[in-house]
C-alpha cells in the first residue's frame, strides 16, 4: 500500500514535467501577448504529427525529426501571431477566442485529412526508452522516458528563465509584457516581441507534442484534452509565472496519479477537482485580502498587533 502510494507520487511528479512544458507556452502567450490561444493543444498535436510524418513517412531518425519540428513550429507560431493573432487582438476580447477556436478546428480537420484518424505513436521508434526504467530501493520504478521528460522540462524552464533575465530578447519580452506602449517608446518593437513569444510558445507546444507521441498515442483530435491540462497547470501554478507552471504541472500530475491509484476512472476528475480547489482558494484569499487579510478574519474583534 505504502509502495503504491510512493510509486504514484513519483509518477505524478514526473508527469508534472510534461504538463509544465505544455503549460509554459500557454502561460507565455497569456503573460506576454495577453492572448489566450485555444489552439495551443492542436498546435501540440500538429507538432507530434509532423514528427510522426518525418519518422514514419520519411524514415528520419527521431532526434532529427524532433530537432526539425521545433524550429518549424516556431516559425508557424511566428506567422500565426503576425497574420492572425495580432489582428484578432485588435478586435476586442471575443475575437481571439473565436479565431483560435476556429484555428483549432481547422487544424484538427486538416490533420484528419492529411494523416487519417488512426492513433499513432512514436513509442515504437524510440526503442527501450519507451518502456524501460530504473528500479529504486523499495521496489519503486522510474520510467526512463518520464524522467527524460521531467529533466527536459526543468532544463527548458531554466533556459527560459535565463533568457528572460539575462538576454536582450528576454528583457524586451518582460518590458513588453508589463506595458507594450511604454516598451515601444523605449525603442522596443512590441509586435516583433509578441511574434517571438508566439514562436517560443509554439515550439514548446511541439516539444510537448513529441513527448506525448512518445509516451502515448495521438489522434488528430487529441488537442483539446491537452489544452485543458495545460490550462489547469497554468491556473494552479499562477498565470504568467514560468516556475509556477512546473508547480502547477506537478500538482496536477500528483492529483491525477493519486486519484488514479484510488480508482483509474478518478484520475482526470481528481485533476479537475484540484483546479476547482485552487480557484476557490484564490477567490477566498482575495476576499480575505479585501477585508484586511487572514489575520483580520481570525482576530476579528480580538487584539490587534
Amino acid at each position: 500500500m505504502f509502495e503504491t502510494l510512493v510509486q504514484a507520487i513519483a509518477q505524478g511528479v514526473l508527469l508534472g514535467g510534461y504538463y509544465a512544458i505544455i503549460a509554459a507556452g500557454l502561460s507565455l502567450m497569456f503573460g506576454v501577448v495577453r492572448f489566450i490561444n485555444l489552439a495551443h493543444g492542436d498546435m501540440l498535436v500538429l507538432g507530434a504529427m509532423l514528427a510522426l510524418f518525418a519518422v514514419e513517412g520519411m524514415g528520419w531518425p527521431v532526434w532529427l525529426a524532433v530537432l526539425t519540428v521545433l524550429p518549424v513550429m516556431a516559425a508557424l507560431g511566428w506567422l500565426a501571431q503576425g497574420l492572425m493573432f495580432e489582428r484578432a487582438l485588435q478586435g476586442g476580447a471575443l475575437l481571439p477566442i473565436l479565431v483560435t477556436l476556429g484555428l483549432g478546428a481547422a487544424l484538427q480537420n486538416a490533420m484528419f485529412g492529411l494523416f487519417g484518424s488512426n492513433t499513432r505513436s512514436l513509442g515504437a521508434h524510440i526503442g527501450a526508452l519507451s518502456w524501460s526504467g530504473w528500479t529504486l530501493p523499495g521496489g519503486i520504478t522510474l520510467g526512463k522516458l518520464p524522467v527524460l521528460v521531467f529533466v527536459t522540462a526543468v532544463g527548458v524552464l531554466g533556459l527560459l528563465h535565463l533568457m528572460m533575465t539575462r538576454t536582450r530578447l528576454g528583457r524586451a519580452i518582460r518590458a513588453t509584457a508589463s506595458d507594450p506602449e511604454a516598451a515601444e517608446l523605449c525603442g522596443i518593437d512590441a509586435r516583433r516581441v509578441h511574434r517571438a513569444a508566439a514562436a517560443i510558445a509554439a515550439a514548446l507546444a511541439a516539444l510537448g507534442g513529441v513527448f506525448l507521441a512518445m509516451r502515448a498515442q495521438v489522434t488528430p483530435y487529441a488537442g483539446p484534452a491537452q489544452l485543458i491540462f495545460a490550462f489547469e497547470a497554468v491556473v494552479i501554478g499562477g498565470v504568467g509565472s514560468l516556475w509556477g507552471t512546473l508547480i502547477g504541472g506537478i500538482v496536477l500530475g500528483l492529483a491525477q496519479t493519486l486519484g488514479g491509484a484510488i480508482a483509474p476512472q478518478l484520475s482526470l476528475l481528481a485533476g479537475h477537482l484540484v483546479l476547482l480547489a485552487a480557484l476557490a482558494w484564490r477567490i477566498l484569499r482575495d476576499e480575505a485580502a479585501a477585508r484586511g487579510g487572514w489575520r483580520a478574519l481570525t482576530l476579528r474583534g480580538g487584539e490587534t498587533r
Binding site: 524586451a172 517608446l185 523605449c186
Partner: protein, 246 residues
C-alpha cells in the same frame, strides 16, 4: 519671424486626431527648434497629451504631417521614432513592473539607444547616477515612490539617447522640494543642448525652464509666443484660468 528661424527639429503641421465625433486634436501646427524648451499649457481636455501621443507615435493621426529634422515620420511606429530620437514621459509614470529600476533603464538603452549589452549597462548606470536613482537601482520599479517613479520616467527616456524630450506633467503630484529637484534636472539637460517640449500645469515651474509657450484649448492652439505674453492673453486667461484678468 518664422522665416529667419532655423529648420525645426520636430514639427507637426495640421495635426488632427479624432475619436468618433470628438476632435481631441484639431488642426494643430507646432514646431520646436533645436535646443529650445517649449512649454504647453491648457485646461484638461485641451488635447495636450493626445498631441504628445501623435508626435511620439502612440497612434496614427487622423490628418497632418509630422517631421523630424525635415524628414516625414508621420507613419512610423513609436519604436522607430524612438530610435530616431523622440522620447516621451507619461503623466502617470509607467515603469516596467516586475523589472528592477536598473533593468528598466538598461532595456531602453539597449533597444532605443542602440547600444550593445556592455555599453547599455554602463549607460544605464551613468543615467541612474545623473537622475539620482543610483541608490535604488536594484529595487523593483514597482516599489518606488512618486518622485523616483517620475525620475525613472526621465531616466528611461534619456537612456534612449533622445534628441528631443516630450515631458507630460512631470511635476504633478510632487512637493515643492521634489519639484525643485526635477526642475534642476531638466535645466541641466537643456544646458547640455536637449530640446524639450513640456506639458505642465504648474506654471512657476514651467516658466523657470521654457523659452516659448503654447496654450491649447479644445484641441487647438489658442496662443503662442513669449511665456509672459501668452499668459497675459485675454483668450488664454478666459480658457485656462476661467476668468478675465483682474
Amino acid at each position: 519671424m518664422q522665416m529667419t528661424d532655423p529648420r525645426p527639429l520636430l514639427s507637426g503641421q495640421g495635426l488632427s486626431k479624432t475619436y468618433g465625433k470628438l476632435r481631441a486634436v484639431d488642426g494643430v501646427d507646432i514646431a520646436v527648434q533645436p535646443g529650445e524648451a517649449l512649454g504647453i499649457v491648457g485646461p484638461n481636455g485641451a488635447g495636450k497629451t493626445t498631441l504628445f501621443g501623435a508626435l511620439a507615435g502612440a497612434f496614427p493621426v487622423s490628418a497632418g504631417v509630422i517631421r523630424l529634422d525635415g524628414a516625414p515620420i508621420t507613419t512610423l511606429p513609436a519604436h522607430r521614432r524612438c530610435a530616431l530620437g523622440i522620447a516621451r514621459t507619461h503623466q502617470v509614470p509607467r515603469p516596467f513592473l516586475g523589472m528592477t529600476v536598473f533593468e528598466n533603464v538598461q532595456v531602453a538603452a539597449r533597444a532605443g539607444g542602440g547600444l550593445d549589452d556592455r555599453a547599455s549597462v554602463a549607460r544605464a548606470a551613468q543615467i541612474l547616477g545623473a537622475t539620482g536613482l543610483g541608490d535604488v537601482a536594484n529595487r523593483p520599479a514597482g516599489a518606488l515612490g512618486l518622485l523616483d517613479r517620475k525620475r525613472l520616467e526621465v531616466a528611461r527616456a534619456l537612456a534612449t539617447n533622445p534628441r528631443i524630450l516630450l515631458l507630460d506633467e512631470i511635476g504633478g503630484g510632487l512637493t515643492e522640494a521634489e519639484l525643485e529637484v526635477l526642475i534642476a534636472l531638466i535645466l541641466d539637460l537643456k544646458a547640455q543642448g536637449m530640446t524639450v517640449i513640456w506639458i505642465e500645469h504648474i506654471l512657476h515651474a514651467l516658466l523657470k525652464v521654457i523659452d516659448r509657450l503654447i496654450c491649447m484649448a479644445e484641441g487647438r492652439v489658442l496662443a503662442e509666443g513669449a511665456p509672459r505674453a501668452v499668459m497675459a492673453d485675454a483668450a488664454v486667461r478666459a480658457a485656462y484660468l476661467g476668468s478675465d484678468p483682474e
